[in-house]
Symmetry: C2
Subunit: 289 residues, 2 copies
């Protein structure tokens, strides 16, 4: 029980109440959370009305979640928390591909595709080839590495957002690197797109004068035996919003040239018409520790 | 865009993105929130799995909210945030009645009742009288002050929780102090009760080894012209859980004797059988500034 000025603070009391937590890590997390939450309220002298607005905002955020929409992940994204968690946990060894956020549109099972398959099942976008290798940090190729790919279409939508306009699996593919660690596929150049703005997170963006756009990108997860997998994007060099990604996921090392190429030999090798846009990306994995 | 080690952190980027916020107070709050949220994640080295569990917990908390249940307020309560906000905003002048949390069971309109009315419409609890005065901090009586009262019944439930077992308005009353600032009413002695434990907050309490009980109490809001209103409780002296209120709302000064009284003159004055339990409470308001 809290006495007057000389007694323990409510923060001390809450922290003391956590002493019976069975899982020591949960106790550590809750203790840190309570200390920061209380420090925030004290430092900002949070009013009752502001507290009520926060309760209302969090409630609306929870109620906006459905089987196909996760508004709390979106909130974490626009507050930079998702990217921070990725930074804290990502493998940062020099030379390894940097990681970035998974995002809400990954599916557990991407369709298995042959090398060179076109993942743009609808067409209409600007055709391009993405090719590269999966390597260990010492430069050794990783034959048989898996490269999971997903991207929005030329209108900025993932297949799951537009089941009426896109066949399931559009913009997605699970590729296996060849004996020299090489992979390649055909697709359309992705375009920037807005995150959903018709919920509480959209209100927050409007209140803060922020736009909802993400720069054009393709998602990857690369994995290989004996190595830590990497979850990342490549961003299209020159895309709008590279300096103001709504979810703070851009890293300089991930910005990739999608150069127009008029090399007829290369066009013949890839089986596309010349000229074409070509992104080269090496995915470099760290050995599992 | 984040560079490598030498570039700005994602926290710096998020804070910078808030510069266009129209409302300066909102910018201040969001900046403080982001800094504390990120510091918490960094200091605790929050893992992806822990982040996912937190997202799932917050989502379930939002989805447990209904027209008659507010699980996010309950979460704020058990983390001591509600009490802290009350402390930050409450009037703390020496001699004035200390404030405590409003709680989720206040109704905007309590039924207007005559002095001495029995707010225990069901009966069966231990009868008692609550009497006192509303005073200014200099000891001046405040005639016509309003005293809004609400409490759980002898089984630990508010009327809105058990609409089948209790008539609406049971345990509630809005009283007007007389020409000498006096008010009184009859009721039953309240009993401790658990906060709802069938949702995410209940899971949190179980994981932390905490019980869900609140010590026995009666809620008050006292208001009078020219004075700051006070939202508070009186707690029944000797009640279980006074030292471990699930929502951290107990203050020493609010613990009140519900003494058994066998003064026949007093019994006659109140129109009750002797002996009876009697709580005396003066509600002392600070002048509005």
């Amino acid at each position: 029980m809290t006495g007057n000025a000389t007694g323990p603070t409510v923060t001390d009391e809450v922290v003391a109440s956590l002493h019976g937590t069975g899982d020591p890590r949960l106790r550590e997390l809750l203790t840190g959370l309570v200390r920061h939450l209380h420090a925030f309220a004290r430092e900002s002298r949070l009013t009752r009305q502001e507290w009520e607005r926060a309760i209302g905002f969090l409630t609306a955020t929870g109620q906006a979640c459905t089987d196909t929409r996760q508004e709390f992940i979106l909130l974490s994204d626009v507050l930079g928390l998702s990217m921070l968690v990725e930074d804290i946990n990502g493998h940062q060894a020099p030379g390894a591909t940097e990681s970035t956020v998974l995002g809400p549109f990954h599916l557990t099972e991407s369709p298995v595709r042959e090398p060179g398959a076109d993942i743009d099942l609808v067409g209409g976008g600007e055709p391009c080839v993405v090719s590269g290798r999966v390597l260990s940090r010492d430069g050794t190729a990783l034959p048989g590495a898996l490269v999971d790919v997903w991207q929005a279409d030329g209108h900025g939508f993932y297949d799951v957002q537009r089941p009426d306009a896109q066949p399931a699996g559009n913009g997605r593919g699970l590729f296996t690197a060849d004996g020299e660690g090489r992979f390649w596929f055909r697709t359309c150049v992705p375009s920037p797109y807005p995150i959903p703005t018709d919920g509480p997170v959209g209100e927050l963006l409007r209140a803060t004068g922020r736009h909802p756009y993400r720069p054009a990108h393709i998602h990857f997860i690369a994995s290989a035996a004996g190595h830590a997998p990497v979850t990342t994007h490549i961003f299209v060099a020159g895309s709008d919003y590279l300096d103001s990604d709504a979810v703070f996921a851009v890293k300089d090392s991930l910005v990739t040239d999608f150069a127009e190429t008029d090399d007829p030999a290369l066009a013949r090798e890839f089986g596309v018409a010349s000229p074409f846009r070509h992104a080269r990306v090496d995915l470099v994995l760290e050995r599992a520790s």
